[in-house]
């Protein structure tokens, strides 16, 4: 996806006392894109969002909305929060308790001087978009969590902001509501095409909602890319381990012509074969880790066709039936405690001998 840049952060830093909440962060967000800041607790996501909103002022760096300079520490430029034309959904929703739903949603319009019928039609349309028709007369404290969340959303989009900011909007909802709201928000954002910055530490939310994801750790960017890119080709072990599950096997790398070979340390005599492209940054003869996503492992009871390039013998240590599949803990050689899942159609029990088939495309090899 290409397009004009709607939001640009250049070398933004912010610290609180000795804590570096955001550390020399640079980002570009395209117009109409949904960009997610993802990372573990305390990595600086909220702080980054608050810098964009103007609720924190950075110690260094520049912030641009398109070609409008918003903040420049060097040049002494600072556009105050209320002049940035933003929409924001807070984690606590921040619905004003002394106003009705209508008054809450109409607020961004009235501070912009919109009056009369136009306010009414725009508020009603925003409430319709979030599925709250007919609730406009309710007093804010009479709403359920999910409804409050939607009022917050309607209030954040009613004035067609140039940028929409969402800080963990679902974290106060129960799991089921969270799933519903995720789908609704996706539909809404697709329809509105507002440039959005979304903060979460939930990878499912990030993967399902975003056009691109920024994985952050310790105040800096680990990797930026589409959800698929991040999942399939993580640039750092941090991203690899943060997104999805991985099994790690350690070994020694050797060159075998067309494919690379890895002799596994703890599984004597077994070799895993992989494409050269999977082993960037490693050297032949060096120690490596092989990372495999559990869903890329095909667990078989027999070595049947033996068609797969990589096929490891394993023993089931424990098998848990969880409804739609089995969760199995298997041992390969001296390597134990590997978690894989197997289909319901192949009953598993402790002590079974199985084969783990792994496609050579599904391996990632990392230097160690």
């Amino acid at each position: 996806m290409t397009g004009e840049i709607a939001l640009r952060l250049e070398h933004i830093s912010k610290h609180f006392g000795t804590v570096k909440a955001v550390d020399d962060l640079s980002l570009e967000i395209r117009a109409g894109e949904v960009l997610t800041l993802l990372g573990p607790s305390g990595c600086g996501k909220t702080t980054t969002l608050r810098v964009i909103a103007g609720l924190e002022s950075p110690d260094a760096g520049e912030l641009w909305f398109g070609d409008r300079l918003i903040v420049s520490v060097g040049r002494g430029v600072y556009v105050p929060t209320h002049k940035r034309n933003l929409g924001m959904v807070f984690q606590s929703y921040a619905i004003w308790p002394h106003m009705t739903v209508f008054e809450n949603v109409a607020y961004p319009l009235s501070v912009r001087g919109v009056r009369g019928d136009k306010v009414r039609s725009q508020v009603m349309e925003a409430l319709h978009l979030v599925g709250l028709d007919g609730l406009h007369d309710r007093q804010a404290p009479q709403l359920s969590g999910g409804q409050q969340q939607r009022v917050a959303l309607a209030r954040a989009i009613v004035h067609e902001p140039s940028i929409l900011l969402l800080d963990e909007p679902f974290s106060n909802l129960d799991a089921k509501l969270r799933e519903q709201m995720r789908v609704q928000l996706k539909v809404l954002l697709n329809r509105l095409r507002i440039t959005s910055v979304f903060v979460t530490h939930d990878q499912i939310e990030a993967l399902s909602l975003s056009d691109r994801i920024v994985v952050m750790s310790g105040g800096h960017v680990e990797q930026i890319g589409s959800p698929q890119q991040l999942y399939e080709a993580p640039a750092t072990p941090f991203v690899r381990d943060f997104l999805g599950k991985t099994l790690i096997l350690e070994g020694l790398l050797s060159d075998a012509g067309e494919l690379l070979h890895v002799e596994l340390d703890k599984v004597p005599g077994q070799i895993l074969k992989a494409h050269r492209a999977a082993a960037q940054g490693t050297i032949v003869g060096g120690k490596v880790s092989v990372a495999i996503r559990p869903e890329d492992i095909d667990v078989r009871k027999s070595n049947g066709a033996g068609s797969a390039v990589n096929c490891l013998p394993a023993t089931v240590e424990a098998a848990l039936f969880v409804g739609d599949h089995y969760e199995c803990r298997v041992r390969v050689g001296d390597e134990d405690g590997l978690l894989v899942s197997t289909p319901r159609s192949v009953p598993m029990k402790e002590g079974d001998s199985v084969w783990l088939n792994v496609n050579e495309d599904a391996l990632m090899i990392w230097p160690r």
């Binding site: 929060t81 933003l86 807070f90 984690q91 607020y107």
Partner: protein, 572 residues
């Protein structure tokens, strides 16, 4: 194991004496709280002097309701309260917001200065302001008259607005800032931030979001400080007497200074005021009991607004206000003690330490110091004992009449000190077995205990409600009487609060003027009244010396209390 079956009957046996104790506490509270007021109401119809044969008539009421002076006093009271609140309330709301919600430097210290201002006794502060704003020698007036285009003194402390100012710079502003700042601190910051992000300027956010969201709290504080300001006496006494400006409390005092004292009129006037004030306390309780939506769960951090380039100017402004209501009057009070003639800086040799020597060697002064210390100490002991019992019974027992007790502990908040004093005076002069107590410090102690009862009980109740029942029950199950449980378990936990509350009772007793004004005799006169008497006689220099000593005594105790409070806050 057999012993385990015993506690049930054992508890049954201890039930009766404990309950009896509760009734005794209730009786004492009703006696000191309700009886004086009842006597006032009854005796507003009694036209005979104390000691003479009883005769009832409506004469007191006719006088009270037709005498234009009395009606004027009530009107003046209302006018004064309204002016004070209208000036102080908006300023206090803004100050509290700044202290609690912005990144102003040193907010803790600034808040502390307002705290100090609240504890500064009103009389010494007023004296400091007289030095600055007296129409003849007031320093500010003299300085302004040096300007070419100002010829007459622009300010006069002896005026309606002078009284408003003395109150504003005394407690009126400080108490509001003190109560509002913690409330603003509990406001969920995202409510403000949401408004700001969605396009409202900080000012608009303040008007449209912060103030409406805080309305319940603001109402409570406004009512509370209105109740307080209705009780004021000494500032009006000092600044109002010279210009014949009376409010109801000074009017009552004035009626009783007549020969013979006009008791019936004073009581009728008191009854009218009480009838107006008791509903206020109900409104106040109702308002504070309503659900508040402003407090936050600990999950959301209280982000503070960035003042950016306004940070230091705002700091300067707030510091200016804080210093103006603390250091400025105190400094000039102290200066006044060293002046040959109070306020006259242009004498050939204006400075002297003679007043200090004179006051410190005056036996009247020494006796007053003893009286104040006895009064303060006695109040602490009695208030702590009685109020701890009341709070305990209300919060921790199933005593049948505990709501009555609770209500009775609320009532004194509505009694203007002068009326409470009048009621107690009547009670102690009119009841033969109590009469020997008249002219002793014990009478003053009873008065100050009742005067500070509401706040003391409230603070203790807050503390009892935070303690788990288990602690105490555990101690009782271990085998022990109620008294042992109270002493061994509750008391140590309550100790920090008790120290704090004790300090507050000492301060309010030591600075009290209005409640004790009618009860003290020349032998029991405390420092606060000595200062008032000296001021009324025009001996401002001596009064300033006494004022400085009262200030040092009260703020010293307040500081110690604050330090203890901080230490225990840290320890928890």
């Amino acid at each position: 194991m057999a012993e385990i079956a015993l506690p049930y009957p054992a508890r049954r046996r201890s039930w009766l004496p404990a309950d009896l104790g509760y009734w005794i506490v209730l009786g004492v509270v009703l006696l000191v709280v309700l009886l004086p007021v009842t006597l006032i109401i009854v005796n507003s119809f009694e036209t005979a002097q104390p000691g003479q044969p009883v005769s009832y008539s409506l004469q007191g009421w006719t006088t009270a309701l037709t005498d234009s002076a009395l009606l004027k006093a009530i009107f003046n009271t209302l006018k004064l309260v309204l002016a004070r609140q209208l000036v102080a309330f908006p300023v206090a709301v803004v100050l509290a917001w700044i202290l609690a919600r912005t990144d102003i430097p040193g907010s803790q210290w600034l808040e502390f200065l307002f705290w100090v201002a609240f504890f500064l006794p009103a009389l010494p502060v007023t004296l400091g302001w007289i030095m600055l704003l007296d129409p003849q020698y007031g320093l500010i007036n003299q300085a302004l008259k040096l300007l070419p285009f100002i010829h007459a003194s622009p300010f006069n402390i002896y005026s309606f607005w002078g009284i408003v100012w003395a109150h504003f710079a005394g407690g009126t502003l400080a108490i509001k800032v003190m109560l509002l700042t913690p409330a603003f601190r509990n406001l969920d910051s995202s409510l403000e931030e949401a408004s700001n992000v969605l396009g409202a300027s900080p000012f608009r956010t303040f008007i449209k979001v912060v103030v409406p969201v805080m309305t319940p709290v603001l109402t409570v504080v406004l009512l509370l400080s209105t109740i307080f300001s209705l009780q004021s006496f000494e500032v009006e006494a000092v600044l109002g007497f010279p210009i014949r400006f009376f409010v109801f409390s000074t009017q009552i005092y004035f009626l009783l200074q007549q020969q013979p004292p006009l008791f019936a009129s004073a009581m009728a006037l008191s009854t009218v005021v009480l009838a107006a004030m008791v509903p206020l306390i109900f409104v106040q309780r109702w308002a504070s009991g309503r659900r508040r939506f402003t407090t936050i769960t600990s999950h959301f951090k209280g982000h503070k607004m960035r003042l950016r380039r306004w940070r230091w100017p705002v700091f300067g402004l707030v510091l200016g206000v804080a210093v103006m209501i603390t250091l400025v009057p105190f400094t000039f009070l102290v200066l006044g003690t060293f002046m040959r003639l109070f306020g006259f800086f242009n004498l050939a040799n204006p400075w002297t330490t003679a007043h200090w020597t004179q006051v410190l060697h005056d036996p009247l002064f020494t006796r007053s110091v003893t009286n104040t210390l006895l009064l303060g100490g006695g109040t602490v002991v009695c208030a702590l004992t009685l109020c701890t019992l009341v709070a305990y019974i209300v919060m921790r027992t199933k005593f049948a009449a505990r709501t009555v007790l609770d209500f009775a502990s609320w009532l004194p908040a509505t009694f203007p000190g002068i009326i409470l004093g009048l009621g107690l005076l009547w009670l102690f002069l009119g009841t033969p077995i109590l009469r020997p107590l008249y002219g002793t410090i014990a009478l003053l102690i009873i008065a100050t205990v009742v005067a500070s009862m509401t706040t003391t009980v409230q603070m203790l109740k807050g503390n009892f409600s935070q303690l788990g029942f288990e602690l105490e029950e555990a101690a009782r199950v271990e085998g022990g009487s109620w008294l042992q449980a109270f002493r061994k378990v509750l008391l140590p936990i309550l100790m920090p609060t008790l120290l704090m509350v004790g300090a507050l009772s000492f301060i309010s007793a030591a600075r009290n003027v209005s409640t004790v004004a009618l009860l003290a005799t020349s032998g029991t006169r405390p420092l606060s009244l000595l200062q008032l008497d000296m001021m009324v006689q025009g001996s401002y220099e001596g009064a300033a010396v006494v004022g400085v000593i009262v200030v040092l005594m009260t703020t010293g105790v307040a500081l110690v209390a604050r330090l203890i409070g901080l230490r225990t806050a840290i320890a928890h």
